[in-house]
Subunit: 322 residues, 2 copies
Amino acid sequence: MEPKMQRKILEYLKARPDFVSGQELSRQLGVSRATVWKYVRELRGHGYRISAGTHRGYRLDASPDRLFAWEIQAGLQARNFGRAVFCHEELASSMDEAFRLAEAGAGEGTLVTAECQRRGRGRLGRTWVSPRGKGLYLSLVLRPEMPPLHAARLTFVAAVAVCETVRESCGLEAGIKWPNDILIRGKKAAGILTEMNAETDRVHFVVVGLGLNVNTALSRLPPLSTSLRAEAGRKFSRTELVRDILWRMETWYGRLCGGDFDGVARRWKELSLTLGRTVRVADGGRVTEGKAVDLSPEGALVVLTGEGDLVRMMSGDVALLD
Amino acid sequence: MEPKMQRKILEYLKARPDFVSGQELSRQLGVSRATVWKYVRELRGHGYRISAGTHRGYRLDASPDRLFAWEIQAGLQARNFGRAVFCHEELASSMDEAFRLAEAGAGEGTLVTAECQRRGRGRLGRTWVSPRGKGLYLSLVLRPEMPPLHAARLTFVAAVAVCETVRESCGLEAGIKWPNDILIRGKKAAGILTEMNAETDRVHFVVVGLGLNVNTALSRLPPLSTSLRAEAGRKFSRTELVRDILWRMETWYGRLCGGDFDGVARRWKELSLTLGRTVRVADGGRVTEGKAVDLSPEGALVVLTGEGDLVRMMSGDVALLD
């Protein structure tokens, strides 16, 4: 099914609370009435509730709570991010699928979403719990010209974009916990995963993955996790959230690629829950305690220890101690 | 066809210049005489010339000049590198195939070879000319625990191993030109390509690729290239070279993973054709001239310019000016 035609039919139906005649749709779309009917049946197959009456035409009664390329792309402000969108009912992992597409040549801004994931991945080989239809599980293909050393900056771009979306579109007090978590009232609502295919001195492509608990019930989530719904007491449109995140990511990514990493880092620091706090960072067997004082250009957390040493942590798990 | 059985049959045939009876082979291998005959026919299909006579048995008259898993693995000193070997007649690129296997879970030391490549890759998206049956075009899957920043060290490991092989097994005066070329008398005989799949702070897997011009005629190669055969005036066994390279790579890789990067770097510097020379390094639009004075722990070439600045080049093309 061609996403463009679905988008057009839905645009007409959504613009009109009452029936639209098959003749009018046929004329507007430049296809036969039989073809209109075929598309309507396909949309019904995707879960759209569409009334049809002889001499009256079609009326959209309800849209399914599911991500579709034509829904995301309708009204998308981002120009490049989301230009190609692949929405799946179920994937092992949206990261794997985005890697597969990127290896086959998929362009920058290609988006992969899944309603649920069988093996959703987090950082360091961990699992991202991905119950069906309740969260955003998405991966975005990027092709920045940068050395692998700078790829962590894309985690900051994504973290800033997601955090701003949760704050400004959902009205929730979200912040960023280094390196890749979005927290609301101390509990994890989203995680970001940045993976790359690279030579030693240049990136071929990067896939930025996001897991965001949107309408998920707390009973479905691991301890110390939360969802937007649990925090706000209401449901959110996942489609609108995707559009908002894509647009904000594209904007911050543009600044990064334009050379303004400082601007990205400054915003990250404003949104950071980690800087200025007393932290314990566990990186493999090594544990460092001290005050988190800065973010390095490579994305390391700079910790000032009790002995007065500045330690740069590139990896690890952070516990906030105060 | 099971590589192990092929290896066993060939071991018996190679150990005996004269005929070996089908009965003896059948007894030694624990299979029926019909099965022995089936394997012999399969070996013939691979290009082995095997005489067969009633009441006399089988005799190996000649082996094809082609890489086979059972040939590489017979007498392989390396324990882990080459444990799994996949030899292809033709591939788009051994790098792509090794990536595919690694993504599917292939273990450390998995080796992929090709008799020829349709789109053999070099560094920075360049082509590696890969004429059929004359060179080594191979890729090795590694799973080191290291950050992406250290992946360039694997290029050094491979360069040292290949350079030592060419010097010690072929008796040719080879040296290493930063970052990834093996030169003989100023001309390029081999190139190394290190690519990875990684998170921002840890490598998932690395594929180290090697293109080595072994028996290639100069007329088939780009300008300023050479082959072992052209330099030595004789042909070399590609199978033996693979075994030698795998063993040396495994040894140096073991030192690297054991924490002795200094030892690897020391050996690299001994074999370097770049250090101590006046160089011009072109990295994108940026050109730096000066004396190459050191190698940084991340693999950067440290250049002392005429103005007395120390410049670290992570990437680029080097011209030797003196």
